[in-house]
Symmetry: C2
Subunit: 325 residues, 2 copies
């Protein structure tokens, strides 16, 4: 399971009544943060998320409302006693941005690994030594331990921007009775469970001999800031939760959305519908919108399971027994 917390739901500028859009994902007490505008660390404190176990920071893009909380957060993480290295992922230019911000941080007791504009999905696994989420670069120790697949999608905004999705694969069910029946030694069961083929002399044991059918995992997607482009529905397809920008609530703001390369609630709901997601959270509300709730029907009319995101809203996503393929 993963626990998802929306740390903030505002766009553009930090406001007294709303933190800037940012999301925290807790997987077995280790954390992934998406975006970090000014005040994100204060929202983390309010939501009691802790700072020491944050392993991955994903940046959608480099507009201030998505990154200006970063130098403060890194400093606070440094003060929390963290020494394990941290990974920051972002679109083209992330190396340069982090380098600039780090000039204002005199000292950090941990390393920062930067992944710029990844071209393929990234595999994450919990490092046995620290428990922290690490990138699987295909090392022997990481083999078979992939627990999160992190994918990115190029979005269409006024600066290079990435959408993110997380997939927590679910292993097929293991049937010990089948293993016993086929005389497979117990010492190989774990490797077979992990999907490995085992060769023992003339015997070849394959995972399908002891495993049930494929099972769906948990999928979470985060889409901001962007116009609703054609590649999004496939990228977010069948997400258990889609967190998506709805910068403008009113349909009349469609022109503004076009001009500023954002979306209306209705456009976000259309994406949720096309992507067959289970639930949609709207976020990244324009500071000019006094009452984001007023326009909610513009989304729910199209996609009923739309929730108006708010600071601190949280959800637990679990493997679903009903979804077997």
């Amino acid at each position: 399971m993963i626990v998802v917390t929306l740390l903030g739901s505002g766009g553009g500028m930090p406001m007294p009544n709303r933190y800037l859009s940012s999301m925290l994902i807790d997987y077995q007490s280790r954390k992934i943060l998406i975006d970090c505008g000014e005040g994100t660390q204060v929202s983390m404190r309010e939501n009691k998320t802790g700072f020491k176990t944050l392993d991955i920071i994903c940046l959608t893009h480099f507009h201030g409302d998505h990154i200006y909380g970063l130098p403060g957060l890194l400093s606070t993480m440094g003060n929390s006693g963290r020494t394990e290295s941290l990974t920051i992922i972002g679109p083209s230019g992330v190396n340069e941005i982090i380098q600039a911000l780090r000039q204002t941080i005199p000292y950090l007791p941990f390393g920062v690994d930067i992944i710029e504009n990844p071209q393929a999905p990234l595999s994450l696994y919990p490092d046995p030594a620290s428990g922290g989420l690490k990138l699987n670069h295909g090392s022997a120790e990481a083999k078979g331990k992939v627990e999160i697949i992190l994918s990115t999608l190029k979005l269409h905004h006024s600066s290079p921007c990435l959408g993110y999705s997380l997939y927590i694969p679910r292993r097929p069910r293991f049937y010990p009775d089948r293993a016993i029946q086929q005389g497979i030694p117990v010492r190989y069961w774990k490797r077979l469970q992990q999907g490995e083929t085992v060769v023992d002399g003339k015997h070849i044991y394959e995972p399908h001999m002891v495993l049930g059918e494929e099972r769906r995992g948990i999928k979470l997607s985060y889409i901001t800031d962007t116009r609703p482009i054609d590649t999004i529905p496939t990228f977010i397809c069948r997400s258990d939760l889609l967190v998506c920008e709805g910068t403008y609530g009113a349909d009349e703001d469609q022109e503004k959305a076009l001009k500023n390369k954002h979306m209306t609630y209705r456009e976000a709901a259309e994406l949720a519908l096309k992507g067959k997601v289970k639930e949609l959270w709207l976020t990244h509300f324009s500071p000019a919108m006094d009452d984001p709730e007023f326009y909610l029907k513009n989304a729910t009319g199209l996609f009923p399971n739309t929730i108006l995101g708010h600071d601190g809203i949280t959800n637990i996503l679990r493997y679903s027994p009903a979804r077997t393929s």
Copy 2:
């Protein structure tokens, strides 16, 4: 008169219940900001100060809790439609810091003039064209228009740090009856009022012929982060208001104060007493202090007119009729 607002009173890290130490000075609807930690612009919004009329930003030093709100504030000022240039003043290194932060701001519609570690007091005057506060570099148009004198003092912290004081001079009283009595033409009165000597043929008119005795202006001082060094009492001498760090309330935290190069409440009160200031506001409270008020007597016992600073506390400083020298 000037209006002083403490935008925040915390030190170290931004917290849910307290903004980071920052002060705003309003002089004839133009603004000077001292320090800008993460969240300062949100406090400005809460205190309805506006962004467009901020002309000068003074940075005490470059620890995150004093500067990480800067890129966001500059962006918001840019969005507010400001086009007049802004002046940023700071200790050695301010050019480099601002350059690094500006790499994260794609576009600003106004120029930024930087003054690094000023070696003499700076004179400010309202620019006749825009009304904005400008630095008087001795130009003809600025002559006689100095309305604020901004001084700095090298403090003793773990990084280069400046204290600031503002002095609003008060012109001596002008006596028209003396001018008439001495046959001084009306066309010279204004220049004499401004302290200028006027030569008209064989007549020499001097200001003392029409002006009363010197009058005290308004003085405001801001001291953080630092140990209580010997040069401070002279620098803050007879301030109407001293805003001073009191990172630690308990006398038992004296060792921490020494180690981290900060002050206790008692040390701040000692400075206020030695500097013969009228009122002391404590600020920059350690986030580890649950109840800063609990220790207030450690300051008031020594300097009774001590106020525990809090976010949004404001005061109007006026010329005092009782103070004539």
